[in-house]
């Protein structure tokens, strides 16, 4: 097989075309940014087309291109289209395309615009390559390419971006190193690098260690507790487009996809590992959502939700029941949809107002009506409000917990439901403080960058918002055509017939009946509208606010900021203090690890006094030890 045939292979095209496009975009970044700007959506669209073809007609034979063979160790580029892999590739290309479109308006004219597009293309190469990978080393290679692209994209941000970028790469790099070690141990013990030929039952310490290291890699990428803390830190100063591309969508697809693949297909888990997954899932849901509630910056708040939602996916997979797994995978897709949309809206808000500080925003519903609508839909979706997509997948995860039946799973269910309610609560804060209320305090904000709602910017949001609705109302379609095939591809016994008619046997499989329910909800909403109109017909009674005798009507300084909605939570004894500490990194393994490492470094440094005679004595001790060792043992 010559090089040209390899490149033309349907499995290789979606990997290699973005790679070349990225190279062109990188070279053209400074001299001709327009080239970069145009080539990235084209490459993403092409990759999407090929990924769809792969999903619909997966080639029977994997593509196997040996790259490097050193004695017994072969590194090969092995690509095969499993249903889950093709689904993730499809998702990555889809979100890449949307972000490339969004960036046409959001990044235009920026100094780093060309590089943004270049790294976007390379992200697609890495993501699609990792999704289709069937070789451990090739998987690692692509996986780390995605980490590198995220880091480089974050360094393009402003303000405190370097710190966030470094923290991100440090934590993801920990996961990557764990994966490297796990891969080395698997190669050493199993003697193969082919993922599809691995079938390992956990039980021995080594298999536990390997599985846990893959889990760490997946969790660091997806952002589950305790490897999550890079997401909020990086979000504070990153571009919204970058966050919509990687942490919101592609990182989740890759991380949860890897977790599903290695938890269900490669390794066979025992009860202890599944319990661990459920615990991580539950803790992630509740800890991150509590942190989200007390945030005052839009992007940081969204970032904590991006962590919290991972908990549902991990919990679903951890239940080990078919319905829970399907729910977890569906939630992965749904999360990518609504969280990208939310970050798109956050970018629009930030560029419009010049800040993402919730205290300085307000009243944007008048200037950004479409953005508001999309934000509203996706905020309701993430909060699990029926009939939107987030509700369906959460519902499936709940069913999975119930099906699993253990005390832990029941506890997980309670946490998940409670977390969902808190999510809704915190998005009330977002909607209220960003879009509603008065806009008078905007002058205190930063400098607005771009006004209005250009088509390139609003179109991706609308597409995603429509998907939020569609995947909720006709949930049977994506479940039947996307998620269930992916789950069955992993060996999960899902009774596919049950999805055939959407809601038949719904009680048994946990799917609710979305179409009639949507009708009822719409009826309810219409009824509410009717009452509202009727209510407006009669004049409302206007009266002064009771302020305890203080004189403060018409004082512009008086306002009731939505950011204070959950001050009660912040002021709770115990929990509130913990949350405040969390803001300063008390639960951040990055900081804790840094402190421990720093102490160890200090111990070592104290030994290096600079006294020459000490150094000479080290040498002499060393040579004596070596000589004694050699002579004594023989």
């Amino acid at each position: 097989m010559n090089a040209w045939e390899v490149i033309r292979d349907p499995l290789m095209l979606p990997v290699v075309v973005p790679a070349i496009a990225g190279l062109v975009a990188y070279i053209a970044a400074r001299p001709a940014p327009i080239v970069s700007r145009l080539i990235s959506p084209l490459a993403a669209a092409a990759a999407l087309g090929w990924a769809i073809r792969l999903f619909l007609h997966p080639p029977a034979e994997p593509l196997d291109v040996p790259f490097l063979q050193v004695s017994d160790f072969t590194v090969a580029m092995v690509l095969s289209a499993s249903t889950l892999g093709a689904l993730i590739a499809l998702g990555a290309a889809f979100f890449g395309l949307l972000v490339a479109l969004y960036a046409q308006a959001a990044e235009r004219g920026d100094r780093e615009e060309g590089r943004f597009h270049a790294f976007l293309c390379w992200t697609l190469t890495g993501a699609i390559g990792a999704a289709l990978a069937d070789d451990l080393v090739w998987l690692l290679f692509c996986w780390e390419i995605v980490s590198l692209c995220l880091y480089m994209l974050l360094t393009l941000g402003r303000g405190d971006a370097p710190a966030g970028a470094a923290k991100t790469f440090a934590m993801i790099g920990f996961g990557d190193a764990a994966m490297l070690l796990a891969i080395a141990l698997l190669i050493a013990t199993e003697g193969t690098t082919r993922i599809s030929s691995l079938a390992i039952e956990v039980g021995t310490p080594l298999t536990y260690a390997c599985y846990l290291m893959f889990m760490a890699a997946a969790m660091a990428k997806a952002g589950a507790v305790p490897l999550h803390s890079w997401i909020p830190t990086a979000a504070a100063s990153a571009r919204a487009s970058v966050f919509a591309l990687l942490p919101a969508s592609i990182d989740k697809l890759l991380g949860i996809g890897l977790l599903a693949r290695f938890s269900l297909d490669v390794f066979t888990l025992d009860a202890a590992m599944r319990s661990l997954l459920m615990v991580i899932g539950g803790v992630t849901i509740i800890a991150a959502v509590l942190m989200a509630m007390v945030q005052h910056h839009l992007k940081t708040l969204l970032a904590y939700h991006a962590v919290s939602q991972v908990g549902y996916m991990v919990l679903g997979i951890g239940t080990g029941t078919p319905i829970g797994i399907v729910g977890g995978l569906f939630h992965m897709v749904n999360h990518a949809i609504y969280k990208s949309c939310l970050f798109f809206t956050a970018g629009a808000v930030e560029d419009h107002a010049g800040t993402d500080d919730l205290n300085r925003l307000g009243g944007l519903v008048r200037t950004l009506p479409l953005t508001f609508a999309c934000c509203m839909v996706s905020a309701l979706a993430i909060s699990g409000v029926p009939p939107l997509n987030g509700f369906v997948s959460k519902w499936l995860v709940y069913q999975g917990c119930l099906g699993e039946g253990s005390t832990l799973a029941t506890f997980g269910l309670v946490v998940a439901v409670f977390g969902s309610a808190l999510t809704l609560a915190s998005f009330f804060k977002v909607i209220a403080s960003v879009y509603w209320g008065s806009a008078t305090r905007r002058e205190a904000g930063g400098v607005p960058v771009r006004h209005g709602e250009p088509v390139a910017r609003i179109l991706p949001m609308i597409v995603l918002a429509v998907l939020c609705v569609a995947f909720g109302v006709v949930a049977a379609w994506p479940l039947q055509h996307l998620i269930v095939p992916a789950a069955t591809g992993l060996g999960v016994p899902v009774d596919t017939l049950a999805w055939q008619y959407g809601d038949i046997r719904a009680a048994e499989l946990g799917l609710w009946s979305p179409v009639p329910a949507t009708m009822l909800i719409l009826l309810g909403l219409l009824g509410g509208l009717g009452l509202y109109i009727i209510g407006r017909a009669s004049t409302a009674r206007l009266t002064n606010t009771f302020v305890g005798g203080e004189k403060m009507e018409n004082d512009p300084r008086v306002h009731f900021p939505a950011t204070s909605f959950y001050r009660t939570v912040e002021e709770l004894p115990g929990l509130g203090a913990a949350l405040r500490d969390g803001g300063h990194g008390a639960f951040d393994v990055y900081r804790l690890g840094g402190r421990c490492g720093g102490a160890f470094v200090e111990v070592l440094r104290r030994q290096h006094t600079g006294v020459l005679s000490l150094y000479v004595s080290w040498c002499l001790v060393g040579v004596v030890v070596i000589a004694v060792y050699l002579m004594a043992v023989l």
Binding site: L604, I626, Y629
Partner: protein, 534 residues
Amino acid sequence: MTTWLPLFVILPLAAGFLTPLAGRRPGESGGAARGLALLVGAVLLAGSIALLGSEPAVYWIGGWPGADRPSVGLSLVCDGLTQMLLVTVNAIAFCALLYSWSYIQRYTGRALYYCLFLLMLAGMNAVVLAGDLFNVFVFMEVAVICSYALVAFGVERAELEAAFKYVVLGSVSSLFVLLGIALIYNLTGQLNMALVAERLGALGTERGPAVWLAAGCFIMGFGLKAAMVPFHAWLPDAHPSAPAPISAMLSGVVIKAVGVYVVCRILFNVFGLNTPAGALYANVLIVLGTLSMVIGVFLAIGQWDFKRLLAYHSISQMGYVFLAVGVGAAVLATDGPRPIAALAIFGGLFHLVNHATFKSLLFLCSGSAEYAAGTRDLHELGGLKYTMPTTAGCCRVAALSIAGVPPFNGFWSKLIIVVATAMAGYWILAALAAFVSFMTLLSFLKVQRYALEGPPPERIRAIHETPVPMRLAMIGLATACVLLGVLVPLHRARLIDPATRTLTEPRLYVERFRPPDQPHMGTTWAAAVKELQP
């Protein structure tokens, strides 16, 4: 091809002694010296590249040994390992010379600088070519004495102190090397490495403790030159104190040519691993490598001096090489599966070449930052990607390479080392290697964050990119970092594989380079051995 071999020593030696003459002329700014040095560097680089992949060759100086004459002559031998080292040394030397073209103009005594530089280069080339132990010692001393002087080249307080420590510790190690050579000579009556190997092999199990003592001396002596923990204490002072191109040479190639290379050559090819002591040598290498790898990286991560941070990483990265080579040696010594040994050694040697490229590049980048900004304190640097885009880009490539991020070269060698260590059954060491890789990533994230990113501090906002020769040198090395990684399948057959074979099939060395028989000398060494036996 064989007749070229002495040129690798003669050319720099001759040019080295010519440069001070060029500097004597009144009004001379060192232009002639730097031109001559760069020319020599280019010729040597071209020659070493042409030599790659050629058949193993031996050159007898003066043509002394013949069919009927005793081997009193000196030989230069050139096999795969030597070729790999020659290319590495001369490539880095060429880049350093190119870089020095502008950089060293800020110093006085430029002609002397080039003199020392070229002598150091001649010493290193001769060490990797030498076929006998005593020449290894002599030329090692040539190289390191020049490096002592070059470390002190700035003649400030810190430089002199660093050089003094380096001299003292270096001399201690040289003494041990000399002691080892004396022991071996006493035991075998030979200095030619092929003959020594043959006779040590013939002694078999009767070799006695003197051999092991000699091995201990060599490991310590050359281990100090390679900066293995606990013999590392001179390096963090010496490497940062030298001018940047010299730092690049010291960390990039000197510790390898007079340290790692000689240890490998002596333990694999001369002492041999198929003896009971073989496994012990391997264990010593593994322990030294692991200690260096772990302790080096922890010391590095706490540093705020850019060059000192890099210097500690040299210790850590040399630890990787020792670990990999040691694992290969352990597998060979215990008659384990040879493919695993080959994989480990391949990884180690590949990492050696890679480290030469990215570490030299990092030192050149730190030198550029210092050249422009006047500081190498990471607290005071920042925003170089705005003010010095070329330097920052090259620095980024090198930092990602050393951190083992794909698609750069460090990724592949670290991957192979970790996989080979795990395959050989050293799971804990594989875990440590992966962990150190992560720590390396952390400390280079720190470098990028504080040196390259962020807003430039007020004081260095107006700095400019360095002169063209310096940038060319950095771009050349950055390209090498990328190409060595992306084109592994293409270059390995000529660059790494022959070198690996030299170590995995240690007996080849004797077969290839053994001088013709000299019957009358056989009795003397046998008699000497008899006398030594208790």
